[in-house]
Amino acid sequence: MAAVLGLIIGVVIGVFVQPDIPVWVQPYLPIMVVAALDALLGAARAYFERRFSDRVFIISFFANVITATLLVLLGNQLGVGSQLQTAVIVVLGIRIFSNVSAIRRFIFRS
C-alpha cells in the first residue's frame, strides 16, 4: 500500500516538476531507475512470501542503485561504459523477470 502510494506520489511529482537533471547524472539515471525497480520487485516478492523486511528493502534499494551506478561509472572510466551498461541492464532484467515469475506463482498458485 505504502509502496503504491509512494509510486503515485513520485510519478505525480515527476510529471509536474520536471527538473533539469545535471549532465553528469544523465547516463546513470536510467540504470538507477532500473536498479530501483528491481529492488521494488524484490520487495514485492518478499511481501508475497511473507518475509518482507523494510530494513532489507531499504538496504537492497540503495545497494542496487549504488552498485549499478558504480558499475556504469567504472565502465565509463575504462571505456566500456555502454557495454557494461548493457550488462547491468541485462542482469537487472533477468532479476526482474525471476522476481515477477515468483510473484506470479504466489498470485496464481501455479
Binding site: A2, A3, V4, L5, G6, L7, I8, I9, G10, V11, V12, I13, G14, V15, V17, Q18, P19, I21, Q26, P27, L29, P30, M32, V33, A36, L37, D38, A39, L40, G42, A43, R45, A46, E49, R50, R51, S53, D54, R55, V56, F57, I58, S60, F61, N64, I94, R95, S98, N99, A102
Partner: protein, 290 residues
C-alpha cells in the same frame, strides 16, 4: 537481493516448540539444497546465501511508530523511484543518446533541410522588408514633394491667399482719357518682369489666364469683374524693384501720368495681404504628360 528457496522462515517458524526437531531437520535440508543451487553453473543462476538472523527484522523493533517509520521510508523510496522514472522519461524525449546512427543521420538531414528552408524564408522576408522600406521612403519623399508642389502651385494658380512684403499701387481715374486695358496690362507685365510673385487687381487675383478688357463705357473689366477707380493693384515681391518698375523714367507710371492724367501712387509695405483667390481651373484638353 533475496532469491528463491528462502521460504523456510516465514511460515514454518510459527510452529509450536514441540516440532523443533523436525524444523531443524527441514532447515538443514533446505540449507543443503541452497548450497547445491549455489554451485549450479547454469546461466542465470545466482548464489544464494542464507541469512544468519531470524528472518523478519524491522528497523526499530515493533510497534506503531516503527510501522509508521518503515511505511514512510517505503513511500519515500517509491516516490524517489517514480520521480526518477518520470524524470528519465522526460529526459529521454530530448536526448539523442538512445537513437541509432540511421535515425541520427535522418534527424541531421531533416534539421539541415529545415534550416535551409528557414534561411531561404528569412532571405525572402528580408528582401520584402527592404523593398517595403524603400517604398515607404519613396512615398514619404513623394508626399514631401507633393506638399511643396501644392503650396507653390497653390500660390501660382491663385488657390491660396498670399502674404509678404510688396507694394500697393493706386491709380486714379485718368483726367485726360480713360485708362485703356492695354496700359493696365502693361503695368501688370512690368510688375511681373520685376519679379512680382503674386498680383491682384482690385479684388481679382491675377493668374496666367487673367485678361483685362474694356467695355463700351470705357470701364475696365478684369476676368468679368468691372474694376472701380481708383484701381488698387497689390503685388508681392521685392518692394524696391517693384516700385522702380513702375516709377522708372519713361516707364508705365510716367506714361499713365502723362498720357491719361491719372495719379499713380506706389506704397511699399512689409505686409501686403492678397486674400483674393481663384478656383483651380479644370482643364478639358490638357493632361499632365507622364
Amino acid at each position: 537481493m533475496r532469491m528463491a528457496g528462502m521460504r523456510r522462515d516465514g511460515r514454518d517458524g510459527r510452529r509450536n516448540g514441540g516440532e523443533t526437531r523436525d524444523d531443524t531437520v527441514t532447515r538443514m535440508k533446505a540449507h543443503v539444497e541452497a548450497e547445491e543451487r549455489n554451485d549450479d553453473l547454469a546461466t542465470g543462476s545466482f548464489p544464494q546465501v542464507g541469512r544468519a538472523g531470524n528472518g523478519k527484522r524491522s528497523l526499530a523493533g515493533s510497534g506503531l511508530r516503527a510501522k509508521l517509520l518503515s511505511s514512510t521510508l517505503v513511500v519515500l523510496m517509491c516516490a524517489l523511484l517514480g520521480f526518477g522514472y518520470m524524470t528519465q522519461i522526460n529526459n529521454t524525449q530530448s536526448t539523442y543518446e538512445t537513437l541509432s546512427e540511421d535515425e541520427l543521420v535522418r534527424l541531421i538531414n531533416e534539421t539541415s533541410n529545415q534550416a535551409q528552408l528557414l534561411e531561404q524564408r528569412k532571405n525572402e522576408l528580408s528582401s520584402q522588408l527592404s523593398s517595403l522600406k524603400a517604398a515607404a521612403d519613396q512615398r514619404e519623399q513623394a508626399e514631401k514633394i507633393a506638399k511643396q508642389n501644392e503650396e507653390t502651385s497653390g500660390i501660382i494658380s491663385g488657390r491660396l491667399p498670399a502674404q509678404g512684403e510688396g507694394v500697393v499701387i493706386t491709380i486714379t481715374r485718368g483726367t485726360k482719357q480713360n485708362i485703356d486695358a492695354a496700359s493696365l496690362f502693361t503695368l501688370i507685365e512690368e510688375l511681373r518682369n520685376a519679379g512680382a510673385e503674386v498680383i491682384s487687381v482690385g479684388d481679382v487675383r491675377v493668374v496666367t489666364s487673367t485678361s483685362i478688357t474694356a467695355d463700351a463705357d470705357g470701364n475696365l473689366i478684369c476676368d468679368g469683374v468691372t474694376l472701380d477707380t481708383p484701381y488698387m493693384i497689390r503685388a508681392i515681391g521685392n518692394p524696391a524693384d517693384l516700385q522702380n518698375a513702375v516709377n522708372i523714367a519713361g516707364g508705365i507710371g510716367s506714361r499713365l501720368k502723362v498720357m491719361y492724367g491719372s495719379r499713380v501712387t506706389v506704397t511699399q509695405s512689409d505686409d501686403v495681404t492678397i486674400d483674393a483667390v481663384r478656383d483651380p481651373a479644370t482643364y478639358k484638353y490638357a493632361k499632365a504628360a507622364q
